[in-house]
C-alpha cells in the first residue's frame, strides 16, 4: 500500500471486519477501499447495517480490522500520537453525566494533551461555537438529547483537530440545530480541517460535502464529487426557440419537449457541441444547454437498488451475514 500519499487524510485498502458468530461470521465490512483528501468534507453514505460506523471505529482504532490496511493522517490505524489531531463525535454519544459541560471538555482537553495554558480558551471557544456557553456549568445529566449532541460536537472540535469524524451529528437536533451543525462544518472547511461525515440526511450531505462515498454491504459502490454522483449520465436540457420541423426532428430523435425546454437523453458529453451546431444549422436559437442532475437521495436509492439487483444472485455463494453494528 502506498503510504506516501501526502494529500490523503484517510486511505483504506480492502479494509475488512468480520465478527465470529455461531451461525457464521458476521461481516461488518467486506473490503473498504477509498481515500479522503486533506481539507475536504467527505460524506460517507449507506443504509443501516452497511458498515459505516464500523468503518469509523476501525479508522479510530476502537475496533481491530480482520484484514486490509489503512492510513489516517499518514499514520497506521490507532497510532496514539496521531489521535491528538483527531476529533470524534460518536453516533451513540454519551458523556460523564455527573460532570458539567465545562468539566467534560476539561477532561477531553487534558486527554488530548492540550497545553494547560490554552485549555480555558479552547473550551470557551468550543462551547460558544456549539451554543452551549450559557449552560457550561450545568451538569450533563440535566441536558436534553440535543444539548448532549451539541456537547459531543464541542468535544470533537476541541483543540482545532486536523481531522474530525462526525457520526450522525444531527440525529438528535431540530432544524435550527442542524443549521448550526452545517455552519460548524463550513467553519471547519474554511479552516482546512478534514471532515468525515456519516449522515442519513442526504440533503445535508449534498449541501456541505465536497465528495461522497456510498457504502453498501461493506464495500464502496460509488465514490466521487457530489456533482459527479448526481449527474444523470448523458442527459441534458436544451432551451431553444424557432423550432422548425427540422429542429423538432433533431430533438425528438432522442428526447422529449416541454415548456420550451427539451430533454435530450443518451447523449455523450463530447456530442453536445455537434448537437448545438446541428440545431443552429437547422434554424433554432439555442439559449441554454444544462446537464440534468438527480438529487443525491434519488441517486443514492438508485445505486442501492442497482447494487441489490446485482448482488442478489451472489447471496447464495457467500454464507456470511452482513449485519454491521
Amino acid at each position: 500500500m502506498d503510504t506516501t500519499a501526502g494529500d490523503d487524510a484517510i486511505r483504506t485498502e480492502r479494509l475488512a471486519k468480520r465478527y465470529p458468530a455461531a451461525a457464521g461470521d458476521i461481516v461488518a465490512l467486506r473490503g473498504l477501499t477509498m481515500s479522503v483528501r486533506r481539507g475536504e468534507t467527505f460524506g460517507f453514505l449507506g443504509p443501516n447495517g452497511a458498515g459505516k460506523t464500523t468503518a469509523i471505529k476501525l479508522l479510530l482504532g476502537l475496533t481491530h480490522p480482520t484484514s486490509g490496511e489503512a492510513m489516517v493522517l499518514g499514520a497506521r490505524l490507532g497510532d496514539r500520537l496521531t489521535r491528538r489531531r483527531i476529533g470524534y463525535l460518536p453516533e451513540l454519544f454519551r458523556y460523564q453525566d455527573w460532570l458539567s459541560a465545562r468539566e467534560v471538555l476539561g477532561l477531553h482537553a487534558a486527554l488530548a494533551d492540550l497545553p494547560a495554558s490554552s485549555r480555558g480558551t479552547a473550551i470557551d471557544e468550543a462551547l460558544t461555537v456549539v451554543g452551549l456557553a450559557q449552560r457550561a456549568d450545568d451538569r450533563v445529566v440535566t441536558f436534553s438529547k440535543g444539548m448532549q449532541q451539541r456537547l459531543g460536537l464541542a468535544v470533537a472540535l476541541l483543540g482545532a483537530p486536523d481531522l474530525v469524524f462526525l457520526d450522525e451529528p444531527t440525529s438528535a437536533l431540530d432544524p435550527l440545530g442542524r443549521q448550526d451543525v452545517r455552519a460548524v462544518i463550513e467553519r471547519l472547511r474554511a479552516r482546512g480541517t478534514t471532515v468525515f461525515l456519516n449522515s442519513h440526511l442526504l440533503t445535508e450531505v449534498e449541501r456541505v460535502c465536497d465528495r461522497v462515498a456510498v457504502v453498501h454491504r461493506g464495500v464502496v459502490i460509488s465514490e466521487g464529487t457530489v456533482a459527479d454522483l448526481t449527474r444523470e449520465s448523458g442527459a441534458v436540457r436544451v432551451r431553444v426557440a424557432g423550432v422548425t420541423p427540422a429542429v423538432a426532428a433533431l430533438l425528438s430523435r432522442n428526447g422529449t419537449a416541454a415548456d420550451g425546454w427539451h430533454v435530450v437523453d443518451d447523449i455523450a458529453e463530447e456530442a453536445i457541441p455537434a448537437l448545438v451546431a446541428s440545431l443552429v444549422a437547422a434554424g433554432a436559437r439555442v439559449y441554454a444547454v444544462e446537464p440534468i442532475r438527480q438529487s443525491l437521495e434519488d441517486r443514492f436509492v438508485q445505486l442501492l437498488r442497482s447494487d441489490l439487483s446485482g448482488v442478489s444472485s451472489d447471496a447464495s455463494v457467500d454464507s456470511s451475514r452482513s449485519d454491521a453494528p
Partner: protein, 282 residues
C-alpha cells in the same frame, strides 16, 4: 499523566455519585451498632464479675466474627464497585468518546484500578482503626496484630477487586459483579470444606481446596487476617488438634510463599485485564 487523569476521574465519580456519602452513613451505622452491642456485653460481663481473661476471650471471638463480616463487606463492595468501572463505560458508550484521544487503554485499566485500590485500602484501615480503638476502649482487649490483619483484609478485597475489573473488560457490569461474588463464595465454602476434610483426613478434598485457594486466594488471605487477630491460645489449639481448625481458628499463618503468590496473582490478573481490554473491539 493520562493514568492519573483516569484515577482522579474515578475518585471524582465516586464522590459525585454519593458513593462516599452512602458508604460513610452505612459505616457509621454499622460501627455504632456494633459498639453499642459490645458495650452492653462488656457491661453485663463486668456486672457478673467475670475475670478479665474471660472478657478478653469473649472479645477475641467477637473481633474475629466482626472481622469476618467486615471482610465479606469489603469483598462484595470491592467487586460491585470494580465490576462496572470499565464495563458500564463500555455499555453506556462513554468509552467511545475517550479512547479516540491519545490515551492508552492500559491507562484506563490501571488508572481505575489504582483509584479503587486506594479507596479500598483507605476505607479498610480507617474503619479498622475506628473499630479496634472502640473495642479497646470498651473491653480493654486489642488483637495481637491489628495492622497486619487489616493488611490481609485489604489484600483480600484487592484480589476480588482486580478479578471483577478483569471480568468487567468482557462482561456486563452485573455479570462481572455476580461472577466475582460467586467465585468468592466458592472459595469460602472451600475453606470450610477444607477444615472438615482435615479433621476427616481426606487428602483428596484438602488438595482440591488448596488448588481452589491458589486459583482465587481470598480464603487464604482471610486466614492470614484471622491468624493475626486470634489470641495465641486459639492458634495453638488449632495447631495441635486439626478438629479445631476452622475459618475462625487458624493454626498457622499462610506461608510467606502464599503472600508472594497472592501478590503475583494480582499482578497477573491485572495484566490480563489490560490485555483483555486492549484486544476488545468496541
Amino acid at each position: 499523566m493520562h493514568l492519573l487523569i483516569v484515577a482522579v476521574l474515578t475518585l471524582r465519580e465516586a464522590a459525585r455519585r454519593r458513593i462516599f456519602a452512602a458508604v460513610a452513613v452505612l459505616t457509621v451505622l454499622a460501627v455504632g451498632l456494633t459498639a453499642w452491642g459490645m458495650w452492653r456485653i462488656a457491661a453485663s460481663m463486668q456486672q457478673r464479675g467475670e475475670p478479665a481473661v474471660e472478657v478478653a476471650g469473649a472479645f477475641a471471638i467477637l473481633v474475629l466474627l466482626l472481622a469476618y463480616m467486615f471482610s465479606v463487606v469489603l469483598a462484595v463492595g470491592a467487586a460491585f464497585l470494580s465490576a462496572p468501572a470499565i464495563a458500564s463505560d463500555v455499555e453506556s458508550g462513554v468509552i467511545l468518546a475517550m479512547l479516540p484521544r491519545p490515551i492508552r487503554r492500559s491507562d484506563i485499566v490501571l488508572g481505575k484500578w489504582i483509584a479503587l485500590v486506594a479507596l479500598l485500602v483507605a476505607y479498610t484501615f480507617a474503619v479498622g482503626a475506628i473499630e479496634f480503638t472502640l473495642i479497646h476502649r470498651i473491653s480493654g482487649y486489642l488483637p495481637p496484630h491489628p495492622l497486619r490483619a487489616l493488611g490481609f483484609l485489604a489484600s483480600e478485597g484487592t484480589v476480588l477487586l482486580t478479578l471483577a475489573l478483569l471480568l468487567g473488560t468482557r462482561l456486563s457490569p452485573i455479570a462481572a459483579g455476580i461472577t466475582a461474588i460467586v467465585l468468592f463464595g466458592l472459595t469460602w465454602i472451600g475453606g470450610i470444606a477444607q477444615s472438615i476434610a482435615l479433621a476427616l483426613r481426606n487428602d483428596g478434598v484438602v488438595h482440591a481446596v488448596t488448588a481452589l485457594s491458589l486459583t482465587l486466594p481470598t480464603d487464604g488471605l482471610w486466614r492470614g487476617a484471622a491468624y493475626a487477630l486470634e489470641p495465641a491460645v486459639l492458634a495453638a489449639a488449632a495447631l495441635t488438634d486439626v478438629r479445631r481448625e476452622s475459618p475462625f481458628t487458624v493454626g498457622a499463618p499462610p506461608p510467606a510463599a502464599f503472600d508472594w503468590w497472592a501478590f503475583c496473582w494480582v499482578a497477573v490478573v491485572l495484566y490480563a485485564a489490560v490485555v483483555s481490554f486492549q484486544k476488545r473491539d468496541l
